[in-house]
């Protein structure tokens, strides 16, 4: 359950909050892609964690197995994720929303399953190590330059994560406001109307899906660097649904809402640490998932537009 909440035991110390900050950024990036798909384009991408996994593993494989430079592996792995998005999207995006949702869940599970069982390629459950050497050098030099104490070794990653989030946020916000973004919103409303006006609705859906895949891959790299160790356990389907919880708390259709939602949900999850009840670790972890479930149910039942979304945005038919 490492990717659900920071698992450091001493939560009073700064390292803990730095870890939380990194996770918030990672989840926010993942959810930005989800917002583009669900909030703007109306395609129910329930497999976003699959792109996170592909990005992370592709990067690690390129660095560790193929000996690529870290700097080449990043764009390379992004392309791999985009390729998967296109391959998956081509046959499935013409299906009805429900079928597409199931297909994407199946995709993410297949990815995780392959990561778990293709020992030769991905190290299976033993995982992968050794892809972060370049990063460690950079992080160490940043740490020197900023004069940070040794226990604040995660601060460079925190900075990089939030800078990345800021950049991607700006990019997606601009895309959302552009005519391309307008077309996505039109596709969400009524694909046939869009086609009747000479525009290729299917192509827009595919592009949106590909962008979400790319963004998901980026969140994958950051997670890999944070964990220093890649294992299939980090990419369970529940990650997608935590991301959904963040999405709907922040509000559909709002990119700022994504960041807000990520912060709120992560804080709620971390708050379970403060429970003074005599619970085992496993029970606390289970409680976190119960909270996610309750968030999903209650927000959808009581305030489907979340905090920054608008009621009209929620009129999403079947």
């Amino acid at each position: 359950m490492t990717t659900l909440a920071v698992s450091l035991s001493a939560f009073g110390r700064p390292e803990f909050w730095i870890g939380v900050g990194i996770l918030v950024a990672i989840y926010a990036i993942l959810t930005l892609g989800l917002q583009l798909n669900i909030g703007y384009t109306g395609i129910y991408n329930f497999g976003q964690v699959g792109f996170m996994a592909i990005g992370a593993y592709a990067m690690a494989i390129l660095v560790v197995e193929a000996g690529w430079s870290f700097w080449l592996a990043l764009p390379g792995a992004t392309l791999v994720a985009v390729a998967f998005a296109v391959l998956l999207g081509l046959p499935t995006l013409r299906l009805r929303t429900h079928y597409f949702a199931i297909a994407t869940i199946a995709f993410a599970e297949i990815v995780r399953y392959v990561a778990q069982n293709a020992d030769g390629l991905t190290g299976g459950s033993q995982g992968m190590l050794g892809f972060e050497i370049t990063w460690q050098t950079i992080a160490a030099s940043l740490q020197d330059q900023l004069g940070l104490a040794p226990q604040l070794s995660l601060v460079p990653l925190l900075i990089v994560a939030w800078v990345t989030l800021a950049v991607l946020f700006a990019v997606l916000l601009a895309l959302g406001r552009s005519p391309w973004g307008r077309m996505l919103r039109a596709v969400r409303e009524d694909e046939d109307a869009v086609r009747a006006l000479g525009k290729n609705a299917y192509a827009y859906k595919l592009q949106s899906f590909a962008v979400a895949g790319a963004v998901g891959a980026v969140s994958g790299y950051l997670l890999a660097l944070y964990l220093s160790f890649l294992s299939p356990e980090a990419f369970l389907a529940s990650v997608t649904f935590i991301s959904f919880a963040m999405l709907i708390v922040g509000g559909l259709g709002s990119f700022p809402g994504v960041v807000l939602g990520a912060v709120i949900v992560q804080v709620v999850l971390e708050g379970t640490r403060y429970l003074q009840l005599p619970l085992t670790d496993f029970q606390v972890a289970s409680l976190r998932y119960i909270l996610i479930g309750l968030i999903l149910i209650l927000v959808m039942a009581l305030r489907p537009q979340g905090i920054l979304g608008r009621r009209e945005e929620m009129v999403l038919g079947g």
Partner: protein, 313 residues
């Protein structure tokens, strides 16, 4: 289309026999019938609910888990005999299922909830059910009081565990009962009608509210039964047991055609068999991927399924 499929099927059968031998294929078939029957039980309810309410109940797998744990509670903790415990589990799951309809789905439908809202609520429900069970019961694998060691040999070389034999027989008996119910009883016909076309059924004067409750109860009871049987056949189970086979259930439902109960039944059997046969060709740990792969392939080639009716996609 049909002829091509049959031809491919025969080719695959020949390939299997060449690789695994007749004995291997026969054993895999026996195993496949067991798991297939369980999948069928789980898939029928899922399909009926989707057909009538256009709701993909992501929590269905966790109803299976609920059934298994309810049986455990009754059987191991409370010491009731297994059959009684199973019946208790079925009743409990059916009640929870109906309770969810009355407490959650019906009010949301009345408020005009959209598809995304319902899907996310179903997922939220899945989490709540699964992790509440985990919270209470803990992660350690549990076992029902079943005999997992004795087995029968038959037909020269084939083996089936005693428990698995019972599970298979019960599952098929119930499936036969389900078919009879759906085919001949008025309620069964009404359920099928609703699942086929809810609006049309409404115009024919059927009390859709009542039939929907019956569908949920039906789905819940079958899921609970599937859970108990699966837990018995597997030997040990943990809170994830239902979710793990959920995608295989989806594959079965889609293969059979969403909304078609008979389709789900045949789809379940097919998925079970295909998964077991695949172990002759590839390593057993890829079994579940077969289910997912079938799902993606069917969605790509023939989203309306093979056994159901033609529209709806």
């Amino acid at each position: 289309m049909r002829y091509r499929a049959v031809a491919m099927g025969l080719a695959a059968a020949v390939a299997l026999v060449l690789v695994g031998g007749v004995g291997g294929v026969a054993q895999a078939t026996v195993n496949g019938l067991t798991s297939g029957a369980i999948f069928a039980l789980g898939a029928v309810g899922l399909s009926l609910v989707y057909g009538s309410l256009r709701l993909i109940n992501f929590a269905h797998g966790d109803f299976l888990t609920f059934g298994a744990y309810a049986a455990f509670l009754a059987n191991v903790t409370l010491g009731l005999p297994l059959v009684t415990a199973a019946l208790v589990a079925l009743a409990a799951t059916g009640l929870v299922s109906v309770g969810m309809e009355l407490g959650m789905w019906r009010p949301m439908r009345a408020r005009g909830a959209g598809a995304l809202q319902l899907i996310l609520m179903a997922i939220g429900l899945a989490f709540v059910v699964r992790y509440s069970i985990a919270f209470v019961a803990g992660p350690q694998p549990r076992r029902l009081e079943v005999d997992v060691t004795s087995s029968y040999g038959f037909l020269g070389g084939l083996r089936i565990g005693q428990t698995e034999l019972w599970v298979t027989l019960i599952a098929f008996a119930v499936l036969a009962g389900v078919v009879v119910l759906l085919r001949s009883s008025r309620l069964g016909k009404q359920m099928r009608a609703l699942s086929d076309d809810l609006d049309l059924a409404e115009t024919t004067g059927v009390d859709t509210g009542r039939v929907i409750l019956v569908i949920w109860a039906f789905a819940g009871v079958l899921a609970g039964l599937a859970g108990v049987l699966y837990a018995s056949a597997l030997g040990s189970f943990d809170p994830n047991v239902g979710f793990i086979i959920l995608l295989s259930l989806f594959a079965a439902v889609i293969l059979g055609g969403m909304g078609s109960a008979y389709g789900a039944l045949l789809g379940g059997l097919t998925i079970g068999l295909v998964q077991e046969w695949s172990t002759l060709l590839i390593d057993g740990r890829w079994k579940l991927v077969i289910g997912f792969a079938v799902l993606v392939v069917v969605l790509t080639l023939r989203p309306e399924g093979f056994f159901g009716s033609r529209r709806r996609v």
